[in-house]
């Protein structure tokens, strides 16, 4: 029973992190229909910015956190402006391969600057914050990640619902030419959505880094784990991303706990194929996929 609950908690936590990582991915897809293969690298950039600001620049934690997010925001903006803008309207394969190429560039840059080592953050939260319940200990970082996730979900829910930029973004996602004719600055919306998505990605990278340590390869492989999550949740649903993340996280940790540890990494992809064949638009996605 204890084992079961421990696995459940682990799964929920991993799932929440996947969901957080997937949120940024969904934002990019929602507004500009770009499948971002460089998402894992954006996560890693966030974690490394935070790491550098904390341990090299010795900034206090909140300042470093905000600074890292600001850097990520700028990075997303620049990436959209330089690389994605020329490709608007090009065939899908070029857009996909461009993000794959970007992933390589980012990875190379990070390996050059920070190397392939595993870095650990200094312990950020005091251990006494951990909750012990019926013999099971929940470490404080888990609580931190969950609360940050919920906070961001609420924040972006409100942002998309009430702020003017959020409404512009939704309108572009809904119908690009109609939004354009109503005076929405579509290019600015693309730039902004990349910037916000990079910010969200950076934030989840920081949380992942606090939990598992910061390593280029580990963090960028999360970028590929995002695909089952977003397909399950629906490619254009932010709430679906979180729920999909939780389901995939639970699936992974239960497979790892009860079946075999090596199967753990491939189970999400098996689920992915099943979902794609049965219900390709996912749980909450817009049903617009064309049957061929």
């Amino acid at each position: 029973m204890e084992f079961f609950v421990q696995i459940l908690i682990n799964g929920l936590n991993i799932g929440f992190l996947y969901g957080l990582a997937a949120m940024g991915f969904v934002m990019i897809f929602k507004s500009s229909s770009v499948l971002n293969f460089a998402h894992g690298e954006l996560l890693a950039f966030g974690a490394f910015f935070f790491l550098t600001l904390v341990s090299a620049a010795k900034l206090p934690l909140p300042v470093a956190f905000m600074g890292a997010l600001a850097l990520c925001f700028a990075l997303g903006f620049v990436v959209e402006r330089i690389f994605l803008r020329p490709l608007i309207g090009e065939p899908l394969i070029y857009v996909i391969m461009l993000t794959v190429g970007l992933a390589s560039i980012f990875k190379g840059l990070m390996l050059l600057v920070w190397g392939g080592n595993l870095y650990m953050f200094p312990p950020i939260l005091p251990a006494k914050l951990s909750i012990t319940f019926a013999g099971i200990t929940i470490p404080p970082v888990y609580l931190l990640s969950t609360s940050i996730g919920i906070l961001f979900l609420i924040f972006f829910g409100l942002f998309f619902k009430y702020s003017s930029q959020g409404i512009y973004m939704r309108s572009v996602a809904d119908n690009q030419s109609a939004a354009l004719s109503l005076g929405v600055h579509v290019r600015r919306v693309f730039a902004l959505s990349w910037a916000i998505a990079a910010l969200v990605a950076g934030m989840s990278g920081i949380v992942l880094g606090i939990i598992n340590g910061v390593n280029v390869h580990d963090l960028s492989s999360i970028g590929l784990k995002v695909f089952p999550v977003v397909i399950l949740g629906g490619l254009d649903s932010i709430g679906g991303a979180i729920l999909g993340g939780v389901i995939i996280g639970l699936l992974e940790s239960f497979t790892g706990g009860y079946l075999s540890a090596s199967l753990k990494d491939v189970v999400p992809y098996m689920a992915l194929i099943v979902i794609l064949i049965i219900r390709p638009y996912g749980l909450f996605g817009l049903v617009e996929i064309e049957r061929v």
Binding site: L35, F83, P86, L87, E90, L92, I93, Y94, I96, M97, L98, V100, G101, L102, A103, S104, I105, F106, K107, G108, L109, L111, L112, G115, G116, L224, F227, P228, I231, S262, L263, D265, V266, Y269, M270, L272, I273, L276, I277, P280, I289, E290, R291, V292
Partner: protein, 356 residues
């Protein structure tokens, strides 16, 4: 024999068989044959074994890239699982050769067929999915095959890998780089001819129709799903043959190289070479192989100069960086790839001095 004629200054074809011709002019055919013979003799007589090794790797990659170009460039289905099918071919050849003692000449095509079956199985989602959903499905296929290659230990011996026997062809052993060169280039030429003929049959035309507009293709009576599966199968057959040759050339294999990175590398070859171009597949393969060998040589030279110590990791970093940069630059500045560059250069010569 017809009278020799030069290439006309425009598309002046009047009959279908002119369109179907592989070499447009007799000079072109003569040049290709003479060039091929010169290349063969130069490579075997003048080049050192390292250069021949690079040629061999280029030829093997070209076969794989040709296959992927049939799928991506001609049929329009994006696949991120080509590296896994390459691996299936490599393991297929290894298992056939070690378990069943099947000779080289049969093991390579048989490995191709095994890969083709795997490709058709993982192509089934294309019946319902297209575009980015299909891309994600093939990515999942890549991970599943990778897992099987590592964990199906009774067949693949897991992380230990398999050591292949020495390849024998008509009683002659083909271990040495030069001998392998002949085998692999003859296969490459056969594959190139096969592809260019394929694109002149109804199957190839159907692939192109599906790429250009799948609904119109369906309306014209092409069974789209069947042809998509067929395209997956043919493309994986090429990958499997390439993988089998690679396995024989490397003499021992593990599952490690057949990862997503390899799939991405193949797509990069196809894009850098030129989508939907047979010559482009070879150009792209040559570009990527030469690029990575140059980078290795550069880092080796820098390391041996020992100006900068502690640079062990930078090879991987610089490789990633340059590789990504070349993909991105090609997509932004020349999305049709090296084949287009080659065409522009040629037509400049052809139309000179009245280039407009």
């Amino acid at each position: 024999m017809k009278s020799f004629h030069f290439r006309p200054c425009g598309n002046l074809k009047e009959r279908y068989d002119e369109e179907l011709r592989i070499f447009e002019t007799d000079f072109g055919r003569a040049a290709a044959i003479i060039g091929g013979l010169l290349f063969f003799s130069a490579a075997t007589l003048l080049c050192g074994s390292y250069i021949v090794y690079i040629f061999n790797i280029i030829a093997i990659s070209s076969i794989g890239a040709l296959g992927l170009n049939i799928l991506v460039g001609f049929t329009g289905q994006i696949s991120l699982g080509h590296g896994a099918f390459f691996g299936v071919g490599a393991y297929g050849a290894a298992v056939l050769a070690t378990r069943f003692g099947i000779p080289f000449i049969f093991a390579v095509p048989a490995a191709g067929f095994i890969a083709a079956v795997a490709g058709m199985i993982f192509g089934i989602p294309s019946g319902r999915l297209k575009g980015l959903y299909l891309t994600i499905a093939t990515l999942a296929g890549q991970f599943i095959i990778e897992y099987l290659l590592v964990h199906w230990e009774s067949l693949t011996q897991g992380t230990m890998g398999i050591i292949l026997p020495e390849p024998q062809l008509f009683g002659i052993s083909v271990v040495d780089d030069r001998r392998f060169f002949f085998v692999v280039f003859v296969i490459l030429i056969i594959m190139i001819l096969m592809t260019s003929h394929l694109m002149r049959t109804r199957y190839g035309r159907a692939f192109i129709a599906i790429r250009d507009n799948d609904r119109a293709a369906e309306g014209m009576g092409i069974p789209v799903f069947r042809y998509k599966i067929l395209s997956f199968g043919i493309s994986s057959y090429y990958a499997g043959c390439a993988g089998a040759l690679w396995a024989y050339y490397m003499t021992s294999i593990t599952a490690e190289p057949f990862n997503v990175g390899l799939s991405v590398e193949y797509i990069a070859m196809v894009i850098i070479g030129g989508l939907g171009s047979i010559a482009g597949s070879v150009f792209g393969a040559a570009f990527i192989v030469v690029l990575s060998e140059t980078l290795r040589w550069l880092t080796d030279t820098i390391m041996s100069l020992s100006i900068i110590q502690g640079m062990e990791l930078t090879l991987a970093a610089i490789r990633e960086l340059v590789f990504g940069l070349s993909i991105v630059l090609f997509i932004i500045f020349e999305p049709r790839g090296l084949a287009e560059v080659w065409r522009i250069v040629r037509s400049n010569f052809r139309l000179w001095p009245f280039s407009y």
